[in-house]
């Protein structure tokens, strides 16, 4: 086990304390989670297109802001699933944003992404990974890395 950094521990404790002590003026955590799920399901499932993805991006950005003041009901320290939900919501929003940004970036259809506005696979431009990295608390940063082809050569999918 790596040694736990006291400062980091303190920081995390403060983070939880801040969530627990938030005034009940913002939205409910579950409400934001619900809106996020509905949005992702509607615009960022298998069939995707620019317009819908942009809409989803806006919603996710807004929800990220709202999540900062989202409150919890449970102020206790025993089995506090409410505060756990608030922490997890942050991770969900980060992941959602990464998914949306990468989906907008990839202007082709491949695997589980079917871009209605770019229905074909485009190996020439897009046979590469899109890497999304967290850029502080701000917008995610996009970069690329090459694909290593091993046993299976890519070929057109025909059923």
């Amino acid at each position: 086990m790596p040694e736990v950094d006291d400062a980091k521990l303190h920081e995390d404790e403060q983070r939880l304390k801040e969530i627990i002590e938030r005034p009940k003026t913002g939205r409910r955590v579950s409400e934001i989670k619900d809106e996020l799920g509905t949005t992702m399901n509607q615009y960022v499932a298998v069939y995707r297109e620019e317009e819908g993805l942009q809409k989803a991006h806006e919603v996710v950005r807004r929800l990220k802001e709202e999540a900062k003041t989202a409150y919890v009901d449970d102020q206790g320290t025993v089995f506090n699933q409410d505060v756990l939900g608030a922490v997890e919501l942050g991770y969900m929003l980060d992941c959602s944003e990464a998914i949306v940004v990468a989906a907008i970036e990839r202007k082709e259809s491949r695997g589980a992404q079917f871009r209605v506005d770019y229905p074909d696979r485009n190996d020439e431009e897009w046979q590469k990974h899109i890497d999304i990295s967290r850029n502080g608390d701000d917008v995610p940063h996009v970069s690329y890395s090459p694909v290593t082809i091993t046993q299976w050569e890519p070929e057109e999918r025909k059923y």
């Binding site: 409910r28 955590v29 579950s30 409400e31 619900d34 919890v72 009901d73 449970d74 102020q75 206790g76 320290t77 025993v78 089995f79 506090n80 699933q81 409410d82 939900g85």
Partner: protein
């Protein structure tokens, strides 16, 4: 969409206050689950409601609760069914499971009870030595035999309502004993006799079960823990001839032989026969006398409550001779069988379908 009235038993250990009831009204389709209703109340009204859940598909075993007093999985209980079993006809009452300490609201301490008991029964396969070099090919029938106990998802519903455990918290209990059958019944396991000896001699072992059927009713996966306990007893008593110090084996044999001899249970003779066996001589064994003496309070109680009458102690219940003959015919048929028939309810239906058609017809006509 329909409205459902939900009444949850809440408990917060940090307030120092007693458990209390909280009511919620939820709006859901009647085919949705009680778990969905709890989560709706948690999401929309009170985020502090504590409930464990994960898969929502009756496979993870996390959401064991009592719905209208009956244990089961919240995700496996439809709202319309729960409403139909509501005691007042309109309120679905959800409580934490029994026999385990409540940590918070609907969350019980599975570690303190259920998992401790599972650990107690050596829940892994003990290999034959030397370990075979290649894989061990298990006969299909023997795997069929343990399939039922393998279906357990460790939800704790049977533990919740075990009546024996209520009286004796140390009872190993339905879930753990079903788990132990999973290995006792496995031909690859090298410890069958050791396991059975251990479970028979433990004063909180297999003979602590009172056949109340609560665990069979409770189980959402059809594991029938009590049936597994009875299998353990049959293998311990009949195959390994384990006569335990708790007198469990002899007690069970006394029941069987009394019904065989008299057609009905002769209550007054049950204890003497359990302690002394099937002969007059046995009852005068000093050990039997001592145990009989220790049973005096039970006998007195039985007399006071009319379960035993002084006349009944002298002679068994009357039963017409031809009826007794019928009872004894059942014994004869069962005892003349060369092999003990273990009926696996869990997959017996499918098993028959797999038989070649000729065998199936033969069996049907036999």
């Amino acid at each position: 969409m329909a409205e459902f009235k939900l009444k949850l038993r809440r408990y917060n250990p940090e307030t120092g206050e007693a458990p209390y009831w909280q009511e919620h009204t939820v709006e859901l389709e009647p085919h949705r689950s009680v778990l969905e209703a709890i989560l709706q109340a948690k999401n929309n009204e009170d985020g502090s409601i504590g409930v464990r859940c994960s898969c929502k598909a009756a496979i993870c075993g996390s959401c064991g609760v009592r719905v209208n007093g009956k244990p089961g999985l919240a995700c496996h209980t439809h709202l319309d069914a729960a409403l139909a079993s509501a005691k007042d006809g309109e309120t679905i009452v959800v409580e934490p499971m029994g026999n385990m300490p409540v940590i918070k609201d609907l969350i019980v301490d599975m570690d303190a009870v259920h998992w401790k008991k599972i650990q107690r029964v050596t829940p892994w396969l003990v290999n034959r030595e030397p370990v075979p070099e290649r894989e061990y090919i298990v006969p299909r029938e023997s795997m069929v035999d343990v399939t039922q106990s393998m279906a357990c998802i460790q939800c704790g519903a049977c533990v919740s309502d075990c009546l024996s455990m209520e009286v004796d918290p140390l009872f190993i209990g339905p879930a753990a004993l079903a788990k132990s059958y999973r290995f006792v019944g496995d031909p690859r396991d090298d410890m069958q006799q050791v396991r059975l000896k251990d479970l028979s001699e433990d004063p909180h072992g297999i003979y602590d079960c009172t056949h109340c059927f609560k665990c069979i009713e409770a189980c959402p996966k059809g594991v029938a823990p009590m049936s597994q306990i009875m299998r353990l007893r049959r293998i311990a008593g009949n195959d390994h001839h384990i006569v335990d110090r708790n007198n469990g084996d002899r007690h069970e044999r006394a029941f069987v032989s009394l019904i065989r001899d008299h057609g009905l249970l002769w209550e007054a003779e049950l204890l003497p026969r359990s302690y002394g066996g099937d002969s007059w001589f046995g009852k005068f064994h000093p050990h039997a006398g001592k145990e009989l003496l220790s049973s005096l309070p039970a006998i007195t109680k039985a007399l006071l409550r009319g379960k035993v009458t002084p006349m009944g102690a002298l002679k068994p219940h009357d039963i017409p001779a031809k009826d007794l003959e019928q009872v004894q015919r059942i014994y004869k048929t069962v005892e003349e069988r060369e092999e003990r028939v273990e009926f696996n309810l869990y997959i017996s239906g499918k098993d028959e379908d797999l038989l070649p058609s000729s065998t199936a017809t033969e069996e049907a006509s036999a």
